[in-house]
Symmetry: C2
Subunit: 129 residues, 2 copies
């Protein structure tokens, strides 16, 4: 299995998920070694939830799984780029396609620049997904 | 100035740089609060180098600056997406446009899937940039 440098950052490395067709960056989360191995073997994006302190198969609650289409590794072997097909059309637990749905305007303001795809309250009992 | 959650991860947050035209993910690096403020005020991507333990204006050695075109913030206020114009056409200190120039093939192999844009030895005296 491809070896990544988990030691450099204390066991977790950043993983970026990108829509494999549009190039839109959907989210960033962290991966443990177990997440990485599970992602490779299952073909589904699997992260590590720092808040819940456990393996996190993306979409396990919401059904919004991320099917792996391609994986890129950065030059230092310590960051992963997942090109995925996003089930349900939305990666963000707040109901947007991308977690990066807010744009910095000037230096002081944030504005929402995407449309909400789903109602989080209808999808989650919890706030994570 | 837009406030990000630097405390959650001990002072540094991940920042993803993406080509503002093609959507290609160029690199991932970390930002300190000082990096973030410098990025906003200068309009040039400025990170924090963990290996050199100091502020790192991307391209300060190579000339491969990243001009900020748009900034997105994630739903948790702890990750930044920079949409940039990459000067010199390459972000990676190894000479490729993107640091993610290697693809996972099967589960055991990595293959280079991009063309080298410049010769690192001709551009750097050091290995960072």
């Amino acid at each position: 299995m491809v070896e990544l440098d988990f030691d450099k950052t204390g066991g977790l490395i950043p993983a970026i998920a990108q829509d494999h067709e549009t190039g839109e960056v959907l989210m960033m989360a962290f991966m443990s070694r177990e997440s990485w191995e599970e992602t490779l073997t299952s073909g589904m994006a699997t992260y590590y939830s720092r808040s819940r302190d456990k393996l996190w198969k993306k979409g396990e609650t919401s059904g919004h799984l991320q099917v792996i289409k391609e994986i890129r590794i950065d030059c230092d072997n310590d960051t992963v780029l997942l090109k995925v097909k996003q089930k349900g059309g939305a990666a963000c637990h707040k109901g947007y396609k991308s977690c990066f749905f807010r744009r910095v305007k000037g230096m002081d303001q944030l504005e929402i620049v995407e449309k909400k795809i789903f109602d989080p309250q209808a999808v989650y009992n919890q706030t994570d997904g």
